[in-house]
């Protein structure tokens, strides 16, 4: 793409310097030289582990003794037989739908609220964004104290009502979703603001001159033109939620009654707690990877606009 931007001067320089082929070979060598650190990282820390995880998923591979040879497809049947597998998939999907719906709606709502420039709106934007500077682990620890029936600000109230934030499966789910909304709403607001900026102002003015109501403008102009942004934010949000780990690991520890175990938490448990079986964990990792690729492909297709291209 950038090649087409080549200036006349550069072209002249090229022609003068040497015949095309050695020059091009020199360029290729230099390019590879500059890109070699990237290539090494991608090969050793991405491609190699990706191949390794597939091999591990097909082998008996206890945490302590390492590779014990191929045992396919035992690891996969063990995953399917795991008593938490079905529950964790259902819970992860439930959490994903809830978190995505709330984050997309709130992200868009907040973006519309603070879109225009003013000092007050700048302050609002900053306060919505500050939580997203925190790490997910820090935010989870923060809410762990905040929700605590002993030390939290609502401790007395909880004692009176006999209810706690993390006491029942549903309360734990909604409390965790609140934490996630608090942490990420500003981030999605920012992405929505970027998208809203891409909508030409003339369209709004034309609609208003034609007597369109606010709702009509939102429905007929903002939403359709925001489609790429909505697609992107939804895919990011679904991916992030399907892979949820820290918030549940720290906040609910999978409880109460193992009701909040996510798929990634199950991978961690299989590998490092109790079972100590890296082979089974690798098998579930491969399943998660395939599921994620399929879900993202479906989403891309669903959001694909036939009018474009």
């Amino acid at each position: 793409m950038s090649m087409s931007l080549m200036s006349g001067r550069a072209r002249r320089f090229r022609r003068r310097s040497s015949a095309a082929s050695p020059a091009r070979r020199g360029e290729a060598v230099k390019g590879w030289l500059y890109v070699s650190p990237t290539a090494v990282f991608v090969a050793v820390l991405f491609i190699l582990p990706l191949l390794l995880v597939v091999r591990m998923s097909l082998s008996r591979w206890p945490l302590l003794t390492g590779d014990q040879g191929v045992n396919a497809p035992d690891n996969y049947t063990k995953v399917l037989d795991n008593r938490f597998f079905a529950d964790s998939v259902v819970f992860t999907l439930k959490y994903t739908v809830l978190a995505t719906a709330l984050l997309i709606a709130l992200g868009l709502g907040l973006a519309l609220l603070v879109q225009e420039s003013s000092r007050w709106k700048g302050l609002l934007r900053a306060s919505f964004l500050i939580p997203s500077a925190l790490g997910l682990a820090s935010a989870s620890l923060l809410f762990y104290v905040l929700y605590s029936p002993i030390a939290g600000p609502a401790a007395d109230l909880m004692e009176k009502l006999g209810w706690t934030f993390l006491g029942s499966p549903n309360a734990a789910l909604f409390s965790t979703v609140f934490l996630i909304v608090w942490r990420f709403a500003g981030f999605y607001m920012l992405l929505m603001l970027v998208g809203l900026q891409g909508i030409p102002a003339e369209l709004y003015e034309a609609a208003r001159i034609d007597g369109a109501s606010r709702w009509q403008i939102f429905r007929r102009i903002t939403l359709p033109l925001l489609r790429p942004t909505l697609a992107l934010t939804t895919i990011m949000c679904v991916t992030g939620s399907l892979l949820a780990f820290e918030q549940f690991y720290i906040l609910t520890k999978g409880g109460p009654d193992n009701s909040t175990i996510t798929v990634v938490q199950l991978i961690y448990t299989m590998a490092f707690q109790g079972q100590n079986d890296l082979g089974v964990a690798a098998a579930l990792s491969v399943i998660a990877l395939i599921a994620l690729v399929v879900i993202n492909a479906v989403q891309l297709r669903a959001f694909h606009n036939p009018d474009e291209k």
């Binding site: 609220l113 302050l123 682990a137």
Partner: protein, 323 residues
């Protein structure tokens, strides 16, 4: 008012100046975040009209938005205050003070050890990410070489792969490379996870610079290395700051990579140490020390964010995420 259909402030103000609902008409925006959405050129703004009717109409809006801001800020403010206020079952029982921070300081290897571990991992990640993506971005933007597109797409594909899927084999792989239980191993892994964003960011940063700039340097006899170092580096500095900021925030806050890759509690990073400190004595949770730990964890992030928010926003404005 709340779902005000998206309109540039200027256009709207011209329409109904009487209510003044949407428009404070302060052309200069105080907060840096505000600059993310510059006002588009539009009809000339009218000066703010502060009528009593306008104020009354605006009050519910102020209460609503102010309430929202408080919801977002309250948890942080409460934690900061609670960490120094007295509470039974913590090291700070009478009066205000820094007892909880003393607990934190004396926890196992001591907070300084954990801070040093976290700082080491974060800075190594930042330096590696900057170096690799600077060179990689330069190569992708300015050179043609076989395998260029395959390598670029493979780098972006890192985004598609679940964290956990990678960490299980990386745990085995780092053991084989004798990097088990090592902070360098964690930094290498975190750098790899930063590559899609940083390589993309640096590539578009280089592509935004006119080719004439480095070609002039090459004509003047510079090598491509000198051209990069002397001519291009200053021009891509904003991109580097954004990449560095994201790398630092990610590395400082990351929980899962050290959780899986580090066993020795003397090598824990801060998030891991604070999360373990909760269950210090036989299941009794020291909430005070946890609050102090959260404050120590959050402080550098919030300060960096407030100082560099323009670069933070830039990361998204870059179009990196425009799909």
């Amino acid at each position: 008012m709340s779902t005000h259909a998206s309109t540039p402030a200027s256009a709207h103000a011209a329409k109904n100046p009487g209510t003044g609902l949407s428009d404070r008409s302060s052309a200069s925006d105080g907060a840096a975040i505000g600059k993310a959405t510059p006002a588009r050129p539009g009809p000339v703004r009218r000066p703010p009209t502060t009528t009593i009717g306008g104020l009354v109409l605006r009050t519910p809006y102020w209460i609503f938005t102010g309430g929202l801001a408080i919801i977002f800020l309250f948890p942080l403010a409460w934690t900061a205050v609670a960490s120094v206020s007295p509470h039974a079952g913590t090291n700070q029982t009478d009066g205000w003070g820094f007892g909880n921070y003393r607990t934190l300081a004396d926890y196992q290897a001591g907070i300084w050890q954990y801070l040093a571990n976290s700082a080491f991992v974060s800075l190594t990640t930042v330096v590696l990410t900057l170096a690799i993506s600077l060179l990689g971005g330069y190569a992708f933007a300015r050179f043609n070489f076989p395998g260029k597109n395959v390598l670029f797409l493979t780098t972006l594909a890192i985004l598609m792969v679940p964290y956990a899927t990678m960490l299980i084999p990386l745990y085995v792989l780092l053991n084989q490379l004798s990097l088990q239980d090592s902070l360098i191993g964690v930094a290498l892994v975190l750098t790899m996870f930063q590559l899609p964003f940083s390589t993309f960011m640096m590539r578009i940063s280089f592509e935004a610079i006119p080719r004439e700039l480095d070609e002039a340097a090459l004509v003047d006899g510079c090598s491509s290395w000198t051209a990069l170092w002397r001519v291009l580096l200053p021009a891509v500095k904003p991109g580097l700051i954004t990449v560095g900021l994201f790398a630092f925030l990610t590395a400082w806050n990351d929980f899962m990579a050290p959780l899986i890759l580090i066993n020795d509690s003397n090598r824990f990073t801060l998030p891991l140490a604070v999360s373990n400190l909760r269950v210090q004595v036989q299941g009794v949770i020291d909430y005070g020390a946890t609050e102090a730990g959260v404050v120590v964890l959050a402080m550098p992030c919030i300060v960096l964010f407030l100082l560099l928010q323009r670069h933070y926003v830039r990361g998204f404005m870059s179009g990196a995420f425009k799909g």
